[in-house]
Symmetry: C2
Subunit: 327 residues, 2 copies
């Protein structure tokens, strides 16, 4: 972090040691952490990069929280209980090291919210943009549902609102002027800090046959799940779960089907997409209501490997939004 | 990776699935990997960034191998047996996606060499330099020696040659013209692909009390170990273990003490620095000879928390080379 980075012990001691598990993480003063494991761990990794996944002007707190949440979302989609993470920070020489305090504050806030601990990290300067790479692990539930577990005959449900990420980016860029300032603000905040919900993980544990984390746009991600499971999908966006703010936006659009498709193609929503036995759908819906979760049935899994969109739209060739590549 | 990235399934299937553990990594087609663990895991994370840890012109194979080896080195320094890793790749839009094949070939080569498996990953485009962040884990040996385990009275040993990384960078930049072309070539290759040696991990398991991974320069790293262990150090660089190529360079230098200190201050050597009970030193040396490892006694641990350099040099205030910050 430039020549004026201050002493690394000071920075670790002040900002990162308070976030760490003192025993396993060795107070972040060693080369490694030693994890005391018993039974399967679920592991995921995701990075976010300035100008790709967040805006250069975003607050450091929200950048830190987004870096954790895009990983948390993977664990929630697998019904796993988050335990810990390591963070690799690429710090531009042009950013003052004082911003580290805000970054650590963001980590701390979400650690407390989600019961996470920091187990180690690495920080390096970069001549490029700020980038944060997180590897996170959790305790597996009895079964860790795979994308490939979706079967013909299953219903397809989304366990969280869709479209807020895409609308939120537009709000950050001042492009949602038809909406109330409050709605714009709420959506912008959801782009910066995705509203991941651990309660959705309980639904995954109980009801999911196949499950994946939506992150690059619902339609494209659903197509990925279908490809891996070697099934087809019939998507019906009439059932798209929406936040009140997204509903307000939708009400202003002249072409409802096209608008729903845009919401389902945008990225930066982070929630589970699950396939469920039809006999379980009513119980899933009732349980979601108890947990206060916005969920919706968005189609069904078919044996015919074709992809169809029921309300008249055309499926995009590339599945819509894409900024990432990888597992 | 730009608009012309090709289909992500194709890229994963062609280049990365062959590197993955098919069961635990779910063929890289899921959001997570499920690790079957029994007993403690040792975890580390390290990133390398273009123009900081490698040169833009370096071959993709060596970039991939260096990304693995800077992490492997942490595990070896703890006597842990490497098992697996996840890789997060930030791919500049300006780099052709075809270079991914070479990157994967580099991963494959070192996976085979070190018994590693890929468990997942994430690739994103970046407007900045190429960066590779790896999180790696291994099976712990009975005891995982910490930096803090160094005690007054211990001898300090380095389990690998020192200075090749710094000389190698100079060789890459055409600054070692006094050496033979072959020596220059060998050193440049060691900068690009650090010569980590799993056999050194056997010595760690058997002999190390305190242990750390040297990566940012021996002197500075030794000072970090002393600070964490709350001890002092008396460094004697006459015992510095050197490769034949580094010895050839040293022979050309007018001031031997200053030249040794330069070797011990440069970064990009990756090997264990261990503290050893004096009674064990002869056995360590004999075992190292059997394993063909270049090792050397570089000082001792003192109760007096001061740092001293025996052959007349001055300790640098910041411990020498530093491009990284973190655990």
């Amino acid at each position: 972090m430039g020549e004026d980075e201050g002493d690394e012990f000071d920075i670790i001691a002040r900002y990162f040691q308070p976030l760490a598990d003192p025993v396993s993480a060795r107070d972040l003063l060693d080369d490694v952490a030693v994890l005391d494991t018993s039974g399967p761990l679920v592991v995921t990794t995701d990075a976010i990069v300035e100008s790709v996944h967040f805006r250069a002007a975003d607050p450091m707190e929200t950048i830190a929280r987004k870096a954790l949440r895009v990983n948390l979302s993977d664990l929630i989609a697998k019904g796993a209980t988050p335990l810990g993470y390591v963070v690799s920070l690429q710090w531009p020489r042009s950013r003052p090291a004082t911003q580290i305090a805000a970054f650590a504050a963001g980590l701390r806030e979400d650690q407390a919210a989600f019961g996470l601990k920091l187990f180690g990290g690495d920080t390096t300067t970069t001549p490029g943009p700020l980038a944060v790479s997180v590897t996170m692990w959790g305790r597996s539930s009895q079964r860790t549902p795979a994308r490939a577990d979706a079967q013909a005959g299953d219903e397809l449900w989304v366990l969280g609102p869709i479209g807020d990420g895409w609308l939120g980016l537009a709000a950050c860029e001042g492009k949602l002027t038809g909406l109330s300032p409050n709605d714009q603000h709420v959506l912008a905040a959801r782009y910066q800090v995705p509203a991941v919900q651990p309660a959705a993980g309980l639904l995954v544990q109980r009801f999911a046959k196949g499950s994946m984390d939506v992150s690059d746009g619902l339609i494209g991600d659903a197509m990925k799940m279908a490809a891996v499971a070697r099934v087809g999908l019939e998507l019906n966006l009439a059932g798209l779960p929406l936040s009140p703010e997204a509903r307000a936006w939708l009400a202003l659009q002249p072409d409802q089907a096209a608008a729903r498709q845009a919401l389902a193609s945008g990225g930066d929503d982070y929630c589970p997409l699950v396939s469920v036995a039809p006999a379980e759908a009513a119980a899933l819906q009732a349980e979601a209501a108890k947990l206060g979760l916005v969920v919706g049935r968005v189609g069904q899994v078919t044996a015919d490997p074709a992809m169809r969109l029921l309300d008249g739209g055309q499926l995009p060739e590339d599945g819509g939004h894409r900024h990432r590549l990888g597992a």
